[in-house]
Symmetry: C2
């Protein structure tokens, strides 16, 4: 490419699309033209990016043609169909869906952790991981680089916005139904109050937690839990890493939290882990519970980094570490990581 590269944002009108346009307006501008693309249904909408009103055009071969990089923020089936079309036309596709994450010919990239993987992309497609993996991988990746990861056990506290606007609306409606009540102390009273307002979730989320996200996988696992294992192994280049994940949805609008138990190849101390985390790119260490310093979704939402607190060495294993990690599932967990990958591709092309 000559001059500044052209970027296509495919899925510009969705929730992650909105955050993407915001981030593009905030970041140092490396782009020439930015095209906004969406389904024919929302084409014609005007959205602001870099301070310029831009009309959204429909997703077609024509609208993709000539884009140097395309960020796909669309459902799996749309990515599966259209990413190869764009790639065949010479566009580097950065795909946020699950469609290509497990493909051995598609690198799965988190720039702070495995930027080198970007160099080999035989299909002209780069995948961005799922939001829960992205919530923990920057912190865990930094520790792995220093101490060598041996195993992971994680339990998530997932926000509703990773189920889209529909998930957010369902939680708001449910909270309105249970606010100003004495609910939550008798069997079934929350179920009755919420009725059929469960939205995209299999059970009420107001005054509740729901140990399920994704679709059923093999042997009782959910697709989200299996995805964390597969994606973590691929990003860290540890194909045999033992990973056990339990995914739980909580009544939080935006920002995923993860409780992490990690075992390493060598002894670790809180002091050494702090040293690594305090200087890791993309990580904020916020860890002094005696003064109330630990990350919570309410404090982390809207920010870019992965926040880490509650760092403790396992009392029964000098190679084990516990941490509590929070990351905005719409920013680093989706839009930001895709933009970072796109920017890295642009930098490489102009180098």
């Amino acid at each position: 490419m000559t001059g500044r590269p052209t970027l296509a944002v495919v899925g510009a009108t969705g929730a992650v699309g909105a955050v993407t346009l915001q981030i593009l307006s905030q970041h140092a501008d490396v782009w020439g033209d930015i095209r906004l693309i969406a389904s024919p249904r929302t084409a014609g909408t005007k959205l602001s990016v870099r301070g310029v009103e831009t009309e959204v055009v429909a997703l077609t071969e024509e609208s993709l043609r000539g884009a140097d990089v395309a960020v796909f923020l669309v459902p799996d089936e749309v990515s599966a169909r259209w990413a190869p079309v764009a790639a065949a036309g010479g566009t580097v596709v950065v795909d946020g869906s699950t469609a290509f994450r497990a493909d051995p010919d598609v690198p799965l990239v988190v720039p702070e952790v495995n930027a080198g993987a970007l160099r080999t992309r035989p299909r002209n497609i780069v995948a961005s991981p799922g939001c829960t993996t992205l919530s923990l991988i920057v912190a865990v990746g930094a520790l792995h680089a220093e101490f060598g990861l041996r195993s992971l056990v994680v339990s998530s506290y997932e926000a509703v916005s990773s189920s889209g606007e529909e998930g957010v609306e369902a939680l708001r409606r449910q909270l309105a139904l249970v606010a100003h009540t004495r609910l939550g102390t008798h069997p079934g009273d929350v179920r009755r109050a919420v009725g059929d307002a469960t939205g995209p979730f299999p059970a009420p989320l107001a005054l509740n937690v729901v140990p399920w996200s994704g679709v059923p996988g093999a042997d009782g696992w959910s697709s989200e839990e299996l995805g964390i294992r597969t994606e973590t192994r691929k990003i860290l280049g540890l194909p045999d890493l033992p990973v056990a994940a339990t995914c739980v949805r909580v009544p939080v609008v935006t920002t995923h939290s993860v409780s992490v138990h990690a075992a390493f190849e060598q002894e670790i101390t809180v002091e050494r882990a702090h040293g690594t985390l305090a200087t890791a790119p993309g990580v904020v260490l916020f860890d002094d519970p005696e003064t109330g310093d630990f990350p919570t979704p309410a404090d982390v939402v809207g920010t870019d980094p992965t926040w880490v607190g509650r760092v403790r060495r396992s009392l029964d294993d000098p190679t084990g570490l516990e941490l509590f990690v929070c990351g905005d599932n719409l920013r680093k967990g989706a839009a930001l990581n895709s933009v970072q990958i796109a920017e890295a591709v642009a930098a490489e092309a102009s180098a």
Copy 2:
């Protein structure tokens, strides 16, 4: 004791006291006199137990005298002072506080798991574990009896009512402050809306999760996290069991949930684990995610058993198992376990 034994309920006017009186009214009646005792501040109140209006009397040496069994549902410092007074007078004390849980001369009892430990009580005191330990130990204990537990990693999702009425009120007030709003997507907006209405918690709980419960212990651990380790080891008789716990508070009124990663001495399958859990006393197996069957606090609240779902064998370790467990923190997690211990003491005395 001759005839039916006399029971004293110390702390009858508190939240756990209320549930205790409810349970005593529902259970097969093994008691003669039931005395209701509380602080001088609330003495004189009348409460109903077994359908009889009973006046609450102040906690004194006199009011304890002659009680065969006393259930203490009071703060640590009240137990520390008064339990030995009652015990010295010949009363068997069942203590729900943390004051005696670690005392080697005080058995720590969960009747479904280690009823035998009741027989040896040199101080005439029996302790009941903390609510988070009680949420998981009946299920984990049943699996241990069959497969031999080798290690535990647990992350909790703790309800606010284990911080008493003050915790419940704080959550209700916060939910009213954020209901009907668009809060939860910008940094600090939940903090600003909640203001100083955080109640007994170190951060807002509406639209949030807070990775802290208890008071600071050594090396970054919370007292709750250390308690789960110490109590689990003592109850299971496994003094060297590796236990790593992370305690997180969630916006749920009542019922604790725990994500459990357990490793055993031998290979385990989901089928064998299901077999054990389906027949374990005090356990309800509720595990078919494809049809939406997994426990959630909204469904479990108000019930006695420990509910278990999301049973999965670790994909990387044939001896590892993941489960998600829910238990009502005011019932089995507090009042019910103390009543069960008291009933076991009464049965033994009358045998």
